[in-house]
Amino acid sequence: MREEIQRIKEKTLAELEKVNLMEELQELKVKVMGKKGSLTSLLKQMGGLSPEERPIIGQVINEVRTQLEEAWENQARNLEKKALARRLEEERIDISLPGFYLPKGHQHPLSKVIEEIEDIFVGMGFTIAEGPEIETDYYNFEALNLPKDHPARDMQDTFFITEDILLRTQTSPVQVRTMQKMKPGLPVKIIAPGKVYRNDDDATHSPMFHQVEGLLVDKGVRMSDLKGILLYFSRQMFGESREIRLRPSFFPFTEPSAEVDVSCMLCGGEGCRLCKGTGWIEILGSGMVHPRVLESGGYNPNEVTGFAFGMGVERIAMLKYGIEDMRLLFDNDIRFLEQF
């Protein structure tokens, strides 16, 4: 019987070596140690042995059993390792393929710039006012100290609907509309973004464009405050190291009037192509609100003063994003829009 045990052991170990799959391993185990397995049936034959032999053979069988189980476990671990290695190999992907495409929309650069300007001024305590794009001659011109046939009206080529109704040429009419609504409340502290229209069309002019108007009316507003607010704005918009300079200018609705230049964001003021070698870039027009405009708005110019400014959104967008032809902004080619 010992030989028989030994034979089963060797045969099983030899077969074990050849096993490749977990299922075969299981089958083999049943074949040897299952209820009808070869080793189990030897155990059943032990009844025919002498009482002296029985414990000895029993021990031998148990030893073999332990040995075989150990071998099985070893082989099982081996197989698991192999299976894992195979899976890793099989599940290998081409990591160079493009990742999943997440659709993404884009904000138009003009609305993006307007939002940014709004955020800066809202942060400084300004509220956002709006006014109609189709305006009366009164609000667009007369209330702004531009009577009929004033030569300064030539500065703006106007689209007319009737003799007295027109497309606003500037966001400035919102100044007077807001003042009339708020009087005698103080301070009047608004910005007014919106579309404006002039009869002009080339690489630097569009018949429709956008402006942001600003207005602060209060007791004791100074031109130095205008400079302070615009310096803060320019640094927020164009970078912390920007400087500004004011140049005398003319707008019928401000006096004194100033053109505002910001130090060039490309060269920092040394002179380059963008700033045409001057180191400065014109970004907006501004000034102290003309007494007649304060009167149009219902305020007494002896009691309050104010400043106003107006900037072209297209110009700022072009500076900010390096856009050379204004017409791109209204062409709406998606290859252009998808950059923003």
Binding site: L97, F100, Y101, P103, K104, G105, H106, Q107, S111, E115, V122, G125, F126, T127, I128, P132, E133, I134, H150, P151, A152, D154, F159, F160, I161, T162, I165, L186, P187, K189, Y197, N199, D200, P207, M208, D218, G220, R222, S224, D225, G228, I229, L231, Y232, L246, R247, P248, S249, F250, E255, P256, M288, H290, T305, L329, F330, N332, D333, I334, L337
Partner: protein, 803 residues
């Protein structure tokens, strides 16, 4: 205004260079647009005389000229045919350079050596110089041109011109004298000006025969006439021609040149009439309707009754301040002249010039405002030049003055200056500025100035004008930066502005690209897509196809989509948020309603990707985007088939819907009507347009957080086959009702038509989520609910359970 540095330096003693002066002027508020060198880049070009011309022995296209320059004689071969023996011509000698950098070398042309080049005006970059014979050939100079002199010196081209871009408030700087004053102020140099430039009024015997009448004193305040005899018409002297050319005015003859020269000096437009062609009283009056005049340019002009003319007893002889009449033009035969120096109201001249489409140096000056005080001093200067140039004898004078603006005195308080500007100037600084400006003043108190504004500064009317004047002369750099000292305010967007921004961000999150299109569109497209209330036309559109204010955003989107598609950008998800303009009545008598809309266009599909099938931008894709809008707005959209409205013929009737919130129509969505897309070069785009104001009104953006249930949900799927015309939403709603309060959610996750589903039917797959807030549900009760649902819809819709 073109300002010659040479001319300027007659009045200003300073060695400031053109570039430096340009900068000083610009930062002082007189913007210099460009600095131009009059010599366009030639060097070593001399005046030569043609001593002899021979034909070239070897060519019938060339001539050989013997040219004298100084003591030298040069042989030059030329192809030009307009030169004659004795002509004075510009010669580029060997070593000379022409504009553009071309260098002249001795050469040989068909065997004859050529030592230089005869030049045309184009080659030299100069204009309006030389005899008429110069046209198209070599520039032929007047016969008195000094042989051997450098052309640059002869024409005074060693000069720079500053191009002033004047704001409308400074018409005074359309005068060289006033530019000199301005430059003097900014440089701190006293200009040296002749007496006529300081307003000196000359005295002539009064002409008793020549009467002048002003019928419309509101439109013309003053009319002065200088009568001149013994006129000899000839070219003006070279120095005057050179000055005029530098200023951009073409020399004509001595009389015309004098009027232009004096206009440039003093800013006062002048006109010279041939007195022999005038009859009787000169009248400044309005034209009668339909009255005609042939203006100097030879065009017959029909006049309106609001146009000011100068007329004699027979009719109009000039369109006042705009252009003279051809009949009374000064010609070579003229011997007697009436020089007009008048005031006309800018607004009137502006209207007339606009209506006639006729602009002139004169009209553009009158429009901006001419100083009526200088009418007569300018005539004094005219008389002086007539005598100096031996052009005629000033004999007598006649004048009508109706009105002169009163002298302006302004009280300027130092305290007010400092308060408005935020500076701390001293009285001494103010005094210095006033002295630099040459404004006379008295001090009421140490810090209150009474300033007399000279008549040529019509722009200074009130104290703030003086404050600007002081600030700019001292320099805006002196203004510090401060922050407003007033009450602090909290800035924010209004709820409506915030909502608009939120919707914009939502659409971008949904993958849509924002566009901005013009508010004016083609009338026909807007009539198709826009409001029934009609649309607002522009009186003067840029182009016909931009002639109408839009009443819908859709034509603009179609246009943009069309442009993109033509460039092979076929896959489009576009939206715009903008106004449409709805008239209350037409033609407009009041401002129209401006209504914000949100519109979108989808075409094609999303980017093709190896991982997933391409999603098509169809009705349901867009409906998905709309439901995001509904979600962000806190509302439910209800979709009803388009019936009766104009969209019936614009959108596919089977693939479109009007959108409602609680019974209120707020917009429309749908695929474009078949074939309409081809007109735009598009492929089945889906469009939507929503009314922002309505959406905002109905929106509910309050968020009240609910806690989530502690007990697990049970999910069941159910597939049924129903007749295909029954809307899925109807079944979904019914299922929800049948499920009772434990059924929390029903979703449609599959729709299928075709084999093996019988003809005329569709298969719907629903998923249902049951949940209780109090307990864990048992399978049995969910099964009971599910079969209740099934039998319910079986009865109601004839639905079949599909296993």
């Amino acid at each position: 205004m073109r300002v010659s540095m040479k001319w300027l330096k007659q009045y200003i003693n300073s060695n400031v260079g053109p570039e430096e002066l340009a900068e000083i002027l610009t930062s002082g508020g007189i913007e210099v647009g460009a600095v131009e060198c009059l010599n366009k880049g030639f060097k070593d070009v001399y005046i030569g005389e043609i001593k002899a011309i021979h034909p070239h022995p070897d060519s019938d296209k060339l001539q050989v000229c013997l040219v004298q320059i100084d003591t030298k004689e040069l042989t030059i071969v030329t192809g030009a045919t307009n030169v004659l023996q004795g002509d004075k011509i510009p010669v580029a000698v060997p070593g000379a350079v022409l504009p553009g950098g071309k260098e002249i070398q001795p050469t040989e042309l068909r065997g004859i050596p050529s030592n230089g080049m005869l030049c045309s005006d184009k080659e030299l970059g100069i204009e309006s110089v030389g005899l008429d014979r110069s046209k198209g050939g070599i520039l032929i100079l007047p016969s008195d041109a000094p042989v051997g002199k450098k052309l640059e010196d002869y024409l005074e081209l060693d000069d720079h011109v500053l191009e002033l871009e004047l704001y409308p408030n400074r018409p005074d700087c359309l005068s060289m004298v006033n530019v000199a004053r301005e430059v003097g102020t900014l440089l701190g140099v006293q200009p040296s000006l002749p007496e006529w430039a300081q307003g000196e009024v000359p005295v002539w015997p009064e002409d008793i025969k020549q009467k002048v009448e002003i019928e419309n004193p509101d439109l013309s305040w003053r009319y002065a006439a200088l009568l001149v005899d013994d006129v000899v018409i000839k070219p003006s002297p070279l120095w005057m021609q050179n000055r005029l050319r530098a200023a951009g005015i073409r020399p004509i003859n001595n009389i015309v040149d004098i009027t232009n020269y004096c206009m440039l000096e003093m800013g006062q437009p002048l006109h010279a009439f041939d007195r022999d062609k005038l009859n009787g009283t000169i009248r400044v009056r309005l034209a009668s309707q339909g009255e005609k005049i042939v203006s100097l340019d030879g065009t017959e002009r029909k006049l309106d009754s609001d146009m000011l003319v100068i007329a004699d007893d027979r009719g109009p002889v000039a369109i006042a301040g705009v252009m003279g009449g051809l009949d009374s033009e000064v010609t070579d035969k003229t011997t007697k002249i009436l020089f007009e120096s008048a005031h006309f109201l800018g607004a009137s001249i502006r209207r007339t010039s606009r209506k006639l489409g006729l602009r002139s140096e004169s009209s553009s000056r009158f429009e901006k405002g001419v100083n009526p005080y200088w009418a007569v001093p300018t005539l004094g200067r005219v008389a002086e030049l007539l005598i100096e140039l031996e052009a005629g004898n000033p004999m007598s004078f006649t004048e009508k003055v109706c009105y002169l603006p009163p002298a302006v005195q302004i009280e300027v308080s130092l305290n007010r200056v400092n308060k408005v500007l935020g500076v701390d100037y001293t009285s001494q600084e103010i005094e210095k500025v006033l002295d630099a400006l040459n404004f006379a003043y008295k001090q009421k108190q140490e810090d209150i100035f009474l300033v007399d504004i000279p008549s040529y500064r019509q722009d200074i009317k009130i104290e703030v004008d003086m404050i600007e004047e002081i600030a700019r002369v001292i320099g805006y750099d002196r203004i510090p930066t401060t922050l407003p000292a007033g009450a602090q305010t909290g800035g924010r967007r209004t709820p409506e502005q915030a909502f608009r921004l939120k919707l914009r961000k939502t659409l971008i999150k949904c993958g849509m690209n924002e566009v901005v299109s013009y508010s004016f569109v083609k009338k026909e497209s807007d009539q198709i897509w826009g409001s029934d209330r009609g649309n607002i036309p522009l009186l003067n559109p840029l182009r016909e196809e931009l002639g109408t204010m839009r009443t819908s955003l859709l034509p603009g989107l179609l246009e943009i989509a069309s442009r993109n598609s033509a460039r092979r950008n076929m896959d489009l998800l576009l939206f715009e948020i903008g106004s449409v303009y709805l008239p209350k009545e037409l033609p407009l008598t009041a401002l129209p309603e401006e209504v914000t809309r949100i519109a979108g266009l989808a075409q094609g599909g999303d980017k093709r990707h190896w991982l997933v099938p391409q999603a098509k931008y169809d009705f349901f894709y867009v409906k998905g985007i709309l439901s995001e809008i509904a979600k962000e707005s806190g509302v439910q959209f209800e979709y009803r088939r388009v019936e009766g409205s104009k969209y019936k013929t614009l959108l596919h009737p089977g693939r479109s819907a009007e959108i409602f919130i609680q019974g209120i129509n707020i917009g429309v969505v749908g695929e474009i009507y078949p074939q309409l897309d081809q007109e735009w070069g598009l492929q089945r785009p889906v469009l939507f347009e929503l009314d922002f104001a309505q959406l905002f009104k109905e929106s509910n953006q309050t968020i009240i957080a609910k806690s989530y249930p502690r007990f697990p949900a049970i999910q069941r799927d159910l597939a049924v086959v129903v007749p295909k015309d029954i809307p899925a939403e109807k079944i979904q709603k019914r299922v929800f009702e049948l499920g009772g309060e434990l059924l929390k959610e029903v979703e449609i996750f599959d729709v299928y038509q075709g084999h093996p589903v019988p003809e005329g039917h569709k298969s719907l797959a629903l998923t249902m989520r049951y949940q209780s807030a109090e307990r864990t549900l048992k399978d049995e009760e969910v099964n009971a609910l599910n079969s209740n649902i099934l039998s319910g819809i079986q009865q109601e819709f004839g639905a079949e359970w599909r296993k």
